[in-house]
Amino acid sequence: MTLRLSGIDLRHSNGTLALRGLELSIAQGERVAIIGPSGAGKTTLLNLLASALPPSAGQLEILGSSPWQLSSRQRQQLRRRIALIHQAPPLPPRQRVVTAVLAGKLGEWGLGKSLLNLLHPIDVPGARDVLGRLDLADKLFVRCQQLSGGQLQRVGIARALYQAPEVMLADEPVSAMDPRLADHTLALLCQHAIENGVTLVASLHAVELALAHFPRIIGVRDGQVHFDLNASDVSREHLDTLYANEQLSTPAITETPTTAPWTPRC
């Protein structure tokens, strides 16, 4: 198993319990989509799988080791094998796209080579290649601040692809792209995963995209696994209970009080 979680609780520093009693295992080379309502804990789960956040309780195993029992040097070595694609990639506005993409290999390079790369990009063809697959090759030497949200997301994906990890985690990777581009990008990620035996876990808001590209779907609600099914077995009913929201469905029932349009105060 590449990723194994048992009895995981995660409490944020502000006290909210984001994940509770999570049981999950994902094998190497699996492609999994995580769906669920906003605030269900999808991002927290991905951060946990990326060993970016420690669990408050339970057993976490990533690529055969428990990241929070390792020394920080060993944990950094483990993290090199995992890539997390952020929904809004945190890139310095003044950084050039080529630098932002090549930064994917910083863990591997060490300080000397990284500083050299800052003076003159070491691997321009490599960066151009991954950007080309995302239809961004012409933006190679543009500053990140000149890109749109969807283009920035693709730069983030290009960095993860360039990192060449064993586990690729993606948090809403296509949320700022048009439907055609989103479809293409997800297909590219899946193809990359299949060709290289990479484990791919992506959280998505668009259920159709999840069902179209991923063989396994995990529904998350209130920090718990709501369902964990093959894409072909996910039914309308599953989705309805996953996204059910009493607060949003109420306004139709509660009529606005007709007695007084406004109540006079003093």
Partner: protein, 275 residues
């Protein structure tokens, strides 16, 4: 109450803070024995007037000008060498003191671990010590150690400014967006690489502007230290003042104006490159 709708919950704290500031300032003014009316007394005004009257026209005979250029170059050299030495100390110290390089902060919602915070204190303490002693005191100390001349000025600037630069650099690193660096550290990169790729691009303009401003301050400070015999323009001003040669003082003040103006333009130029 109708006004309840419009009430701003921050209004009362703001008012109280303003009152507190006034309450704290008033005894400060009393303690400092500030009394502006002294300036307006006829006798004082006449003394100052006769001193300032000697300033015009500024001295411009060739002999004095060559002396002025020499002193200016020496001042610039003291300030620049002092800053360079200060940077050698300030950059490593700021890295040690800043929590922007904290690996644990990346996985704790930006709060560094307690052990790291404890280890940062010695670096902070060193920077506090370096800048808490005024540069003029260091200069007096070094004049005794290495004798009269620019060396004492360079060392004094290096030590005090290392403290200031280190502190402010550490705070600039912490004040910019930490997420790019955290994302890099979460992808396995080292602390220094994360700083260089994630924080420096955002902090570069601020760092440059502050460094150039400090260089400008170092030019001024080197003048003050000239008064205690550390060379440069300051020593010249001191001599001219003692000889009541107002015209020479005026020339030197004009030189200052030009230097500060140049520093300002340089800062603007460099900031433009980084934003």
């Amino acid at each position: 109450m109708l006004s309840r709708d419009r009430r701003d919950p921050a209004a009362l704290p703001r008012l109280l803070l303003a009152l507190l500031a006034v309450a704290l300032l008033w005894p400060g003014i009393r303690l400092a024995e500030l009394d502006p009316t002294v300036l307006l007394k006829a006798e004082n005004a006449r003394t100052m007037g006769s001193f300032v009257a000697g300033f015009w026209p500024p001295a411009h005979d060739p002999e004095f000008l060559s002396l002025l250029i020499d002193a200016t170059l020496q001042t610039l050299a003291i300030a620049t060498a002092g800053m360079a030495l200060a940077l050698v100390l300030a950059i490593p110290a700021s890295l040690l003191a800043s929590s922007a390089l904290s690996l644990s902060a990346a996985s704790r919602a930006g709060r560094p671990g307690w052990l790291g915070q404890c280890l940062r204190w010695p670096a902070r303490g060193l920077l506090i010590f370096l800048r808490s002693v005024p540069e003029i005191v260091w200069a007096l100390l070094f004049v005794r150690a290495v004798g009269l001349g620019p060396t004492a000025g360079v060392l004094a600037i290096a030590i005090t400014y290392a403290g200031m630069l280190g502190k402010v650099y550490a705070e600039i690193f912490e004040s910019v967006d930490q997420r790019p660096a955290h994302a890099l550290m979460q992808a396995g990169s080292g602390r220094l690489t994360a700083l260089v790729y994630g924080i420096l691009p955002n902090a570069a303009a601020e760092l440059t502007s502050y460094t150039v401003y400090r260089w400008e301050c170092a030019v001024r400070a080197s003048v003050v230290m000239g008064f205690v015999g550390a060379g440069g323009l300051g020593q010249q001003i001191d001599l001219s003042m003692r000889m009541f040669a107002g015209a020479e003082v005026a020339s030197m003040l004009l030189t200052f104006l030009v230097l500060v103006l140049l520093a300002d333009q340089l800062s603007r130029l460099l900031r433009g490159r980084f934003t």
